[in-house]
Amino acid sequence: MTLIVSLAIGVLFAAGSYLLLQHDFIKVVGGTILIAHSVNLFIMVSGLSRGTEPIYPLGDGARVSDPLVQAMVLTAIVISFGVTALLISLIYRVYVSHRSVDIEHLSDFEERLVQLEEQQVPPEPGIGVLEDREVDEDDESDQPDRDGIQRDERATE
């Protein structure tokens, strides 16, 4: 049993790390989810024992299974769920303000922003990435984006 679970943990963690190294933020989120699950399994296996259910009153000398790991795993699942939700909302905000979730696009955009700043030109929001596609929509899409960000902030509360 331990071997099977260990293999599962290994496969999950490996797949998670592979996804974590991708360019696309959505894939990266998938990676963090897989890694979180491998950690949850790891916690389970750290207290894997055979026995009766640990409900009081216990029989004399009865072997009970470890209840603590389940409590820990439940907490860990809740936390990883919450953080994943937060991460996805953050990525949505990135998408709203940059129109891309590809990390290469985003770095290009920021480099251009830095260059603009060095030339003492005040940067305009969303000038970099949109240049390749729809420059016309730049000004129109600006205002709804701000609203989107604020709505999002309220949601994360």
């Binding site: 990266v28 890694i35 979180a36 750290s46 603590l68 953080v83 937060l86 991460l87 309220r154």
Partner: protein
């Protein structure tokens, strides 16, 4: 009871502030008052710890060993007070400056609750839970600002720290498997009986997690982008309060629970510390904007903490605590004053800059002197040389940005165009005075760090 009081105030007021609109001034001032109340409770707790030794409390009236415990010793109380002080300064600054998001005060309060919990808990898994409460607040705070510019770095910050949390959780689970305990004292007692090689992997996982929090050399890549992209108050919170988790974690877990493993890892910590100092300083030298220089200098300053940890022993730990205190004050002062304009802000920034450089009247001198003293006692010439080189480099880059900011005519002219509000400048000036005070009257800080360094001297072989 006092242990829960500070934590409870922050938690309760954080929840209350979350349903209110934080952009209103009175909500902001109420949050400041809540942090002040929590600081008062922690000071009272610290007095008790000083007079009667470490205080413990078990939640729910369970027998100790069954219930989840809270323990306050000098180390924990020091770090809790330090972090809350930074939060207080940053929140007051932002309230005077005008809060831009309705969740900001609530997030700062909840971050304070998480940090206080981390520093006062006696349970390994509860440490993780509080750690996540603090981190989640800081994830959202990182995205606080007007421009979309910091969002990419905020996302990277979250992803990197998620990986760190996963490592940390695995380390806890592995330690639980090996020791069968979750209370820190129990883990420490049983780890001492185990073969050190069997614990080394858990130790590596835990140390890596705290290294990511600190932003030391191989885990630093998110740091400059985040610190330069966010608003000054958030950068001050991240570098002054959240980074304390890393220092405290390495001290508590390394010094208190895994002393043999910390000893084994000392050469690696030393090497990483040296690389961080040199890398941070050289990068800071080559940068032009103030925010970037300060951000890279924090990588370098954290390197000094690692070097102090690698020296180890009560003296080394005391030097690490001392450096952490001074560094938190410096960074808060620098980040808050970097964009201010008007009378006396130049003074405040100069105090911060010279403090980082370690020029005597400012508090930063003390941290470097502490490290210097420890190294001189050991005849450790490499550390002495390193402290000198690091200080010289930090003096150069700090003087460079000071020169660029205040001595360049056109910058100075545009700087005088819009003066910042007096109240905002007052916060920064008070911080600068505190920094000077630490330098002129160092006894309290020295005493506190010495006591904190001895918190677990008994558990060391």
């Amino acid at each position: 009871m006092l242990i829960v009081l500070g934590l409870g105030i922050l938690w309760f007021s954080g929840v209350c502030a979350a349903i209110l609109d934080g952009r209103r001034r009175w909500v902001g001032f109420a949050s400041v008052a809540a942090i002040l109340a929590a600081i008062a409770a922690l000071v009272a707790l610290g007095m008790n710890v000083r007079d009667e030794g470490p205080q413990t409390m078990t939640a729910g009236g369970w027998p100790s060993g069954v219930g989840i415990g809270l323990t306050a010793d000098m180390l924990g109380v020091t770090f809790a007070l330090l972090s809350l002080g930074v939060l207080l300064a940053a929140l007051t600054f932002e309230v005077f400056n005008g809060v831009r998001s309705q969740s900001f005060p609530a997030l700062v309060l909840l971050l304070g609750a998480g940090l206080t919990g981390v520093f006062l808990t006696a349970d390994a898994f509860n440490f993780y839970v509080f750690f996540e409460i603090a981190m989640i607040s800081s994830y959202i705070l990182t995205g606080y600002g007007d421009e979309g510019r910091q969002l990419r770095s905020a996302t990277i910050f979250v992803i990197v720290n998620l990986l760190g949390s996963a490592f940390f959780l695995m380390g806890i689970a592995a330690l639980y498997h090996q020791t069968g305990r979750l209370d820190m004292a129990g883990i420490a007692a049983r780890v001492a009986l185990l073969n050190p090689t069997s614990v080394i992997l858990s130790a590596v996982l835990i140390f890596t997690a705290f290294g990511i929090k600190l932003g030391i050399f191989p885990f630093h890549f998110w740091l400059p982008a985040v610190y330069t992209g966010t608003r000054p108050a958030v950068a001050a919170i991240l570098s002054g309060a959240v980074a304390n988790i890393g220092t405290y974690g390495l001290l508590r877990w390394g010094g208190g629970m895994l002393p043999d493993e910390l000893h084994t890892a000392a050469p690696m910590f030393f090497a990483l510390g040296v690389i961080s100092i040199l890398y941070g300083s050289l990068q800071a030298l080559s940068r032009r904007s103030v925010a970037e220089v300060v951000a890279y200098s924090s990588i370098g300053q954290v390197g000094f903490i690692l070097v102090a940890l690698a020296i180890g022993g009560p003296a080394g730990f005391a030097a690490a605590v001392l450096f952490a205190i001074v560094n938190a004050v410096n960074k808060t002062l620098l980040f808050l004053s970097e964009n201010l304009r008007g009378w006396l802000t130049g003074f405040a920034f100069a105090v911060g800059a010279f403090s980082v450089a370690g020029v005597p009247p400012a508090g930063g001198f003390l941290g470097k002197a502490g490290l210097f003293q420890v190294a001189a006692q050991d005849d450790n010439w490499i550390v002495i040389a390193l402290v000198v080189v690091g200080s010289v480099l930090s003096f150069i880059y700090m003087f460079q940005i000071y020169q660029r900011r205040f001595w360049t005519p056109e910058v100075a002219e545009s700087a005088n165009a819009v003066a910042s509000p007096v109240s905002v400048r007052a916060v920064v000036v008070v911080l600068a005075i505190i920094t000077l005070l630490i330098g002129f009257w160092p006894e309290p800080v020295l005493w506190v760090s010495e006591q904190a360094g001895q918190s677990f001297a008994t558990t060391r072989p």
